[in-house]
């Protein structure tokens, strides 16, 4: 309700301010950006191709493990709220849950997924 409207307002203000900072700044009398100015900086040499490419991500297996793990973390938020009420039962249950998932991490580690493929 009210908090969402506040978030929307903050969004408009922040985005507006930062975009204005970038658009209004700069020399008013500067010449436009020329082709040699726009070439990407790689130390003075000129690249042959565009930098955008089918970028070879070296950690993709890790991201899959991460997504699964993160999904699980979402259960922990409501768990934290009732922890004090439920006491030892909550501790044991979450311990089991984390133990199961730790197996996944250890397995991934043994398979070398945290190294750069």
């Amino acid at each position: 309700m009210e908090n969402t409207i506040q978030i929307l307002l903050l969004t408009a203000l922040s985005l507006g301010a930062v975009m204005a900072l970038q658009r209004l700044g700069g020399l008013s009398d500067a010449p436009g950006v020329t082709a040699p100015q726009a070439a990407p900086f790689i130390g003075g040499a000129a690249p042959g191709t565009h930098a955008w490419q089918r970028f070879h991500v070296r950690y993709y297996t890790m991201t899959l493990l991460f997504v699964a793990f993160e999904m699980e973390m979402m259960f922990m938020y409501p768990w934290a709220v009732v922890f004090v009420e439920e006491g030892i039962k909550a501790l044991v249950e979450m311990g089991m849950f984390l133990a199961i998932l730790t197996i996944g991490i250890i397995y991934g580690w043994r398979e070398g997924i945290f190294a750069w493929e």
Binding site: L8, T61, E72, W79, V81, E85, L101, A115
Partner: protein, 239 residues
């Protein structure tokens, strides 16, 4: 109209507009993060309607998942940045009909179902209720979810990691033939067949030096691209 109504319609409109833009832009990254904007609007609607955990969690999860999806989209799509304009949709007539039908069915279901009216008190601790449920009746479901996620992790590692304790996982593997019993498809492995298991690449043929980048996938089909079967409905239609 109250402020809440205004915010609701604004966010809904934005969610629909960004969702539509996903299919109109050329860049995979733009498409990915437009989808994230759409989900974020939905998450904010959740916050607006007092589903504060669900709303925040939606934004949280979707940001992470769209990020990961973007990595894979760029990895496996031709022309990932959309430097050359392209159509992101295929089979227009079929998809228009299918889309309209699904829209009608879902709208009908929403409008015609007698939805229960069971308002929850504003100060009801829903998050606590959820926690009690997870530790009570649904405990088995919760732990099963843990095992399922473990299976997901193991499956993801097995399927995508090349390096393993026992050497490269694709050692000696041969891609299947294009016809039954035919020769293996795709690029031939060089140097002892240590990497063979990536198929297709049919859509863009040879790469003959820097000047000769023409003739790649000009037509509608880029059937190959064996690594990303699931994404096959994007791309194509260059000219």
């Amino acid at each position: 109209m109250t402020m809440t109504d205004v915010a609701f319609y604004l966010l809904s409109g934005f969610a629909i507009w960004t969702g539509w833009r996903v299919f109109r832009v050329d860049s995979m990254i733009r498409a990915t993060f437009l989808l994230l904007l759409s989900f974020t609007s939905v998450g904010l609607i959740g916050l607006l309607l007092s589903a504060s955990y669900l709303g925040a969690a939606t934004i949280f999860m979707m940001a992470v998942e769209m990020m990961v999806m973007g990595l894979f989209m760029v990895m496996f799509m031709m022309n990932p940045a959309g430097l050359n304009p392209m159509m992101m949709v295929h089979q227009h007539r079929l998809s228009i009909v299918a889309g309209l039908l699904i829209f009608a069915a879902m709208t009908g279901a929403v409008l015609l179902t007698p939805l229960p009216s069971d308002p929850v008190a504003a100060d009801r601790p829903v998050l606590r209720d959820l926690g009690i449920e997870l530790l009570g009746d649904s405990m088995l479901i919760f732990e099963t979810a843990g095992v399922t996620l473990l299976a997901t992790m193991l499956g993801a590692v097995v399927l995508s990691s090349r390096r393993g304790r026992f050497g490269p996982t694709d050692a000696g593997s041969v891609p299947p033939g294009l016809s039954a019993g035919g020769p293996p498809a795709g690029r031939q492995p060089k140097g002892g067949g240590s990497h063979g298991g990536h198929g297709g690449h049919g859509g863009h043929g040879g790469q003959g030096g820097k000047g000769a980048h023409d003739g790649h996938g000009g037509g509608g089909s880029h059937g190959g691209h064996g690594k990303n079967g699931g994404d096959g409905n994007h791309g194509g239609h260059g000219g």
